[in-house]
């Protein structure tokens, strides 16, 4: 029996004032098909509170210019705000230094940066990369591209029927050729919380660095880089109540410094001549061109907003939503929950005998309920669990128990059509 980290802190049950929180999200007041919107597609993208929108407007209205360039007031202000956002991220994930935080366009971009910057330099023919069956396509395809280019090999950690990783198998996959581990913190398709702290320790005992895809964890759990001791951690702002087009790659400074740049251009250099170009120091080495300044500042505002509520409070409230929804959905005849890990975030994936998820999704939309249907960009998981597709309801801290009821009532009505 392997150690499973406690994902939540049940002793910490501070209550959320959900009605007050909801008032911060204008979009939650929308009517869809004449019904109040019930937004349960948070794992795909979360909604934005007015505080973040206001911050974007304030930036564009009073602070915008290009960063790291001008000596004038606006450029200095924009640069200061942009760097302030970097420090907000640093504290949010408890990174040692702010230069370990690189702004990217999102989780996919972050993983590709590591593949190009680290993988292409340090992974060679015959080397092995360990991934897991649970991975999102964004943490599979870049490594497949690298494996093909270098003649490296991908080894895959299997899962059990509940959607949990076989940790014993993971340990057995290591050998002297293992050069890298890529693992998601939380499964987007199933909600499984992986025991990544233990997995990182296992890899480090063998001198192997680990990249964690934190896209589904950063918005729902407290994540602590120094506690996890991971080498790379990637996440996106738009799942974190922030804007699209911005994400983060955390990397330990010692790794980032040894890596080659991924994109070339302005900002990432110290000096350029046609004979020789000297790269800038981290994090700028990896931020070629004008970055999404407003989006980065928006991410900072989103972090302020979430920190104001508290990630522990968010995690425990969302856990209650999950428990309640799981209890309610279980009684529906012919319905099977896909993903029943002991440690889960608030994701409910399910299939209903004889009813295609797309039909459920279309008909739930008629009731104002937004869910995701399909393979969730995680086809290997679907294949392993022998489901072509699922319907997925994914919750956020602004969802209510009443919305769970509305979802379950609508789902029952939809399934009634098919009986």
């Amino acid at each position: 029996m392997k150690l499973i980290e406690p994902a939540l802190e049940p002793q910490f049950t501070s209550m959320l004032d959900v009605e007050r929180i909801r008032a911060d999200f204008p979009i939650l007041g929308l009517q869809v098909e004449g019904k109040p919107l019930v937004y349960l597609d948070n794992a795909a993208s979360s909604q934005m509170p007015r505080q973040v929108m206001d911050r974007l407007v304030r930036y564009q209205t009073t602070q915008h210019a290009n960063v790291n360039r001008g000596v004038h007031y606006l450029s200095e202000t924009a640069t200061a705000e942009y760097e302030q956002s970097r420090r907000k991220v640093q504290h949010f994930i408890n990174a040692r230094e702010d230069r370990e935080v690189i702004f990217t366009s999102g989780t996919t971009d972050s993983i590709n940066l590591v593949m190009h910057g680290y993988g292409r330099k340090f992974i060679g023919p015959g080397d092995e990369i360990i991934l897991t069956t649970l991975e999102h396509h964004s943490n599979i395809v870049p490594w497949q591209m690298l494996a093909e280019e270098k003649g490296a090999k991908i080894r895959v950690v299997p899962i059990n029927d509940a959607g949990e990783l076989h940790i014993d198998e993971y340990e057995r996959l290591f050998n002297e050729r293992t050069k890298f581990v890529g693992v998601m913190h939380v499964s987007n398709a199933l909600g499984t919380i992986n025991p990544i702290k233990h997995m990182i320790a296992v890899a480090h005992q063998r001198g192997v660095p680990v990249l964690v895809d934190g896209a589904q964890a950063a918005p729902h759990l407290t994540v602590d880089m120094q506690d996890l001791d991971c080498d790379f951690y990637a996440f996106s702002a738009h799942k974190l109540c922030g804007p699209t087009g911005i994400g983060v790659l955390y990397g330990k400074a010692e790794f980032l410094e040894r890596m080659q740049p991924y994109k070339g251009g302005g900002d990432m250099i110290l000096s350029v001549t046609f004979e020789k170009t000297v790269y800038n120091s981290i994090p700028h080495k990896f931020e070629a061109g004008t970055p999404p300044i407003a989006a980065a500042i928006g991410l900072g505002a989103a972090i302020d907003y979430l920190s104001g509520i508290g990630m522990s409070a968010i995690a425990s409230y969302e856990h209650r939503l999950l428990e309640y929804a799981t209890e309610q959905i279980r009684d529906i005849p012919g319905l099977r929950i896909i993903g029943t890990a002991a440690q889960k975030t608030a994701v409910l994936s399910f299939e209903v005998e004889g009813v295609h998820p797309h039909d459920i999704g279309t008909l739930l939309n008629q009731e104002g309920v937004a869910v995701r249907t399909g393979h969730h960009c995680a086809q290997p998981v679907m294949l392993r669990l022998k489901v072509p597709a699922t319907t997925r309801a994914s919750f956020a801290f602004y969802n209510t128990m009443a919305e769970v009821d509305a979802f379950i009532t609508s789902l029952r009505a939809v399934l009634e059509i098919f009986r």
């Binding site: 279309t362 679907m382 059509i417």
Partner: protein, 160 residues
């Protein structure tokens, strides 16, 4: 017609009791169609007796809209000539994409129950997939996709 009644009145009948569902022994033409967006796939097999569709069957994993569209398609094109089937394929696709005036002249008959999918942009491909696949089968293209770069709807005849 709203989405719910589209489901209730027509689609579910064909979803529960699909017509011409199964496989044909040694068909003269066949194709498999994929919708990579959802992973659905559909096999269509038929026998051409001269220019006429003598037998036709379909099988596959798909949603109710796709299955009902396939079921109704097979009942309608059975006994028709290849040319008539191609006309229906084109008209059905135009209807699903909102490019056909359902009130104007066409040959779709009761297939117009699917006109409502034009208001469900994410589901248009589900309705079209069987027709796409029939077109491919008639033109000896053995595999097709709703995301194919060259729209098989316009593939050269006989080009495998």
């Amino acid at each position: 017609m709203n989405t719910k009644s589209l489901y209730q009145e027509v689609i579910l009948d064909h979803n529960r009791k699909p017509r011409n569902y199964g496989v044909l022994e040694k068909p003269s033409h066949q194709a498999v169609g994929h919708n990579p967006l959802c992973g659905d796939h559909l096999d269509i097999a038929l026998d051409l007796e001269g220019e006429r569709i003598d037998r036709i069957a379909f099988k596959g994993e798909s949603c109710a809209i796709c299955k009902a569209s396939a079921s109704m398609m097979t009942t309608v094109v059975k006994g028709k000539t290849r040319a008539d089937a191609e006309t229906l394929i084109e008209e059905f696709r135009d209807m699903a994409m909102g490019k056909l005036d359902v009130e104007g002249p066409h040959h779709l008959g009761r297939l117009t129950v699917f006109a409502g999918v034009r208001d469900l942009p994410t589901r248009v491909k589900c309705a079209i997939l069987p027709w796409h696949t029939l077109h491919a089968a008639l033109n000896s293209v053995t595999t097709t996709s709703t995301e194919a770069e060259d729209d098989p709807m316009h593939a050269a005849i006989g080009d495998a």
